[in-house]
Amino acid sequence: MDITWGASASHEIAWGGMIAVYLFLAGIAAGAFLTAALTDLFGKNRPAKLIRAGAYIPPIAIVVGLLLLVFDLGRPLSFWKLIFNVNFSSVMSLGTFIISIFTAVALVYAYLIWAWPVAQARGIQITVAGVEAAAAREVPASGLQALRKPVAVVGSLLAFGTATYTGFLLSAVSTNTFWSVPFLGISGVPFLPFLFLVSAISTGLAATLIGAIDCSDLTLYKKVDIVLLAIEILLLIILYTSVSSAFFQGGLANLFWIGVVVIGLLLPLILAIYGVSKHKNLVVPVCGMVVVGGLALRYFVVYAGQMVR
């Protein structure tokens, strides 16, 4: 670098891959939690395996994500200062609280789900083998299990908060024209929280479905997945038309077109529709691609906002 005669010091990227993966994992955690909790709360024929997968993924994903976040700090050992120094005008400061509480609630919920079959078995005195069938029947909740549904409700709100927070974190940077781009030009309504919320649910649902692979009837979930993919395509079209085309060129173009669009959206959408209509089980390829696409999306958004300024 030659600052005397030249070009100023090369612009360093402040937030790199670690932050992209963290945002991705927080999204997966939130989406998986919503999948499990909403099924638990409203599902008629509750597939226990799906609820279990959706309840176990969030604590693992969010804890790994938070570890990455802490390692990415300039001063990792001072991370606790984030909790004791609050700035209400900082989205990150508010998000710290949402994510911390969500993590705690997700852990509690995972524990309750883990303990759930045991309680069921006691309740109606059947063997563990009959649990899946028993789960369909409503059993009066007793003891700790009485907390399960309230925890699912509170956790769902926090999951919603976590998923949108990952978008607000970036969109709050008002000096960044890419991250803070408004939704359909409506000033004051940022775009990214919508995109990241939909992507979070879609990737979280996909990860849960992979975990519940041998469940018998997942058609409803596969249909939801198709709808989410369609919404995401719509949102990306909105994004593409709202910001300068410079963001979709250069080194990031491949990541966007191949990673986000083709692998993350178009291929899984086509395969999913084919799978549902032909009653083929294509969960692993479809959901695998959705998850990979979600990661590519976070990378793309995090980097694109910092490459072109």
Partner: protein, 186 residues
Amino acid sequence: MAKHYAMAVVVAKCIGCQACTVACKFQNNVPEGQYRTKTPVVGPKGTFPNVSMYFEKQACQMCQNAPCVEVCPTKASHYNEAGVVLVDVDKCVGCKYCLTACPYDARFINKDTGAADKCTFCWEARVSKGQVPACVSTCVGGALVFGDEKDSNSEIAKLLSKNKGEVRKEEFGTRPSIYYIFEGVK
């Protein structure tokens, strides 16, 4: 009335000697390869007879509506009593949110402390003791003028009343305290 320290850069007087760049490294013990201030060349631009080239001193713009202060989750980035934006190293966790928010690329993570770092107007070592920042006192071309913008008798207030001072990236509404006087340059 509270003071408001500001700096004017008389671009036409800057000869690009980098004395400010070096003085800052001396004064503030800035790690190798990192800079709180630098003065890159802009240009040469255009074709004869309209060729221009000048040097632009770049450092923290001491915004009065600073995005770095707004986003900082721990209030490590703050305004002091004289409108100077500072980083409290002890409170900073090094999250880099401020680096993403600063539109002037003024911040970096100090290699030694892990905390966000940037120009302080030499607040602790000099300005709070009534001196001017190191870059201003060393400036060979006499291009840097520093003082209390609100004191109408100060050199900087007089200079700015006679000349048009422009701020960088005005569109972001950050209200910088560094004014560039481009007279005779572009």
